[in-house]
């Protein structure tokens, strides 16, 4: 369901939850993965967006 997906970093297992966003990094709650800036990197390990995959929970 759009707006409620989760994306997992392949490098460090960090999970980006669209519902929560990353307010500390200027990404409001509810931000779709597609709208996360392309130059955003994983806050834990610095991996680029391309190293994330959609996670099943």
């Amino acid at each position: 369901m759009s707006g409620q997906r989760k994306w997992r970093c392949l490098v460090c297992d960090f999970v980006y939850e669209e519902a929560l966003g990353m307010p500390d990094e200027g990404i409001p709650p509810g931000t779709s993965w597609d709208d996360v800036p392309d130059d955003w990197t994983c806050p834990d390990c610095g991996a680029p967006k391309s190293d994330f995959e959609m996670a099943e929970f």
Partner: protein
């Protein structure tokens, strides 16, 4: 089979494999590792209790998946004992030889061991990989008391993880404040206070002189004669790059295997990155520098010689009781720490004589400033 041979399957080796395969899907790849070849993210070891994970649950890809993902032959459970750069082959401790067209040392570092006396000195645990961590967890009794030798980054992360989950932790360190090699005192005192409030104990300005058996427990003796009962003793006093094989083969080594910003060692077609490497004079055993080096080396190995570009790279200290970020100033840099804010939310800038920002440390709510400050900080400079 020759092709690319990478020694080590930690963050350095596997990031290189991933980035290189994006550019070269066809050339043979051999990964050689002393452990079981399972992929995991090492910084997650020191927060595994809080994340509710066992050592096995930290695995992000099993060995067969690692081999399949990177179309690699994976040789596990072996040590590399020798390198012959003229013949372009390495020797393994099972007697096998492995030829290479290009070789990468990504074989990491080992825990520094400090001399400790006592009849239980050999029970002190050093955790540097997932299998070490598994032993730590097997030996950790529920709610037990862990004495941690070293109140640096790793020691404080383990202490936070333990006390937050109902264990006891005592940190022993010869320096006057935690993370004494990385943080200015004012900032470090806030972290010390937060860890103390969470239940950790500090014995600063002290070293562990003895560890002896005491029934089912251990008795830890400090150099002032004080004793502490412990269920487990964990040593976290830094890393020593694994340079022996490279050095024996005649490669230039210093603290690590010396490489230029293209990760080239002094031997043709031999490269190094990660905790084992000394890149343009820097040994930076942190995730971001290694990731950047791996991307540059992947391009170089795929035929596009590329020097690593290092921005200022902050290190996240995984102490949830007081989130802390440090971007360490270069070793021996001249300058001074300037403080802003107040406990526990500090912005500390390390400023050089000419006003250049050379490093910073942030705690609490101030950690959200890390991106902005990193952009203002002079990146590490490479020695010639």
């Amino acid at each position: 089979m020759s092709g690319l041979v990478i020694i080590g399957t930690g963050h350095a080796g596997l990031t290189l494999a991933r980035e290189w395969r994006k550019r070269d899907p066809d050339t043979a790849l051999t990964l050689v590792t002393a452990d079981d070849g399972a992929a995991y993210y090492k910084p997650n070891l020191s927060k595994a209790l809080a994340s509710g994970k066992t050592a096995d649950e930290l695995i992000t890809a099993a060995p067969d998946k690692v081999a399949a993902d990177y179309a690699a032959e994976l040789i596990t459970g072996v040590q590399v004992t020798a390198l012959d750069p003229a013949a372009k082959q390495i020797t393994l401790n099972d007697g096998r030889h492995q030829a290479y067209a290009q070789l990468v040392f990504a074989n990491g570092a080992s825990c520094r061991h400090i001399p400790v006396q006592g009849d239980a000195a050999d029970t002190v645990l050093h955790v540097n990989n997932r299998l070490d961590y598994q032993r730590f967890r097997q030996q950790l009794p529920d709610g037990g008391h862990v004495v941690i030798i070293g109140a640096g980054l790793i020691g404080c992360e383990y202490a936070n993880d333990l006390v937050a989950q109902g264990y006891d932790a005592t940190l022993v360190d010869p320096l006057a404040w935690p993370l004494g090699m990385l943080l200015p005192e004012t900032v470090a005192r806030s972290l010390e206070q937060a860890l103390t409030n969470a239940g950790a104990q500090f014995r600063l300005g002290q070293t562990v002189s003895r560890v002896d058996h005491a029934g089912a427990q251990y008795q830890v003796t400090l150099d002032d004669g004080a004793t502490i009962s412990a269920d487990l003793v964990l040593s976290a006093v830094g890393l020593v790059p694994n340079t022996a094989v490279a050095k024996e083969a005649g490669l230039a080594t210093g603290r690590g295997i010396k490489v230029n910003p293209r990760m080239e060692t002094s031997a043709a077609d031999v490269y190094a990155l990660g905790d084992v490497a000394e890149v343009g004079g820097h040994v930076l055993p942190y995730v971001l520098p290694i990731t950047n080096c791996a991307r540059a080396l992947a391009a170089t190995l795929a035929g596009e010689p590329t020097a690593v570009q290092w921005p200022a790279m902050p290190v996240m200290v995984k102490t949830p009781v007081l989130p802390t970020v440090v971007c360490p100033p270069p070793a021996r840099a001249a300058g001074e720490w300037q403080m802003e804010g107040g406990a526990p939310d500090w912005v500390a800038r390390f400023v050089g004589g000419d006003g250049t920002l050379l490093g910073f440390a942030l705690t609490g709510a101030a950690t959200r400033e890390r991106g902005r400050l990193a952009g203002e900080t002079r990146p590490p400079q490479f020695a010639d």
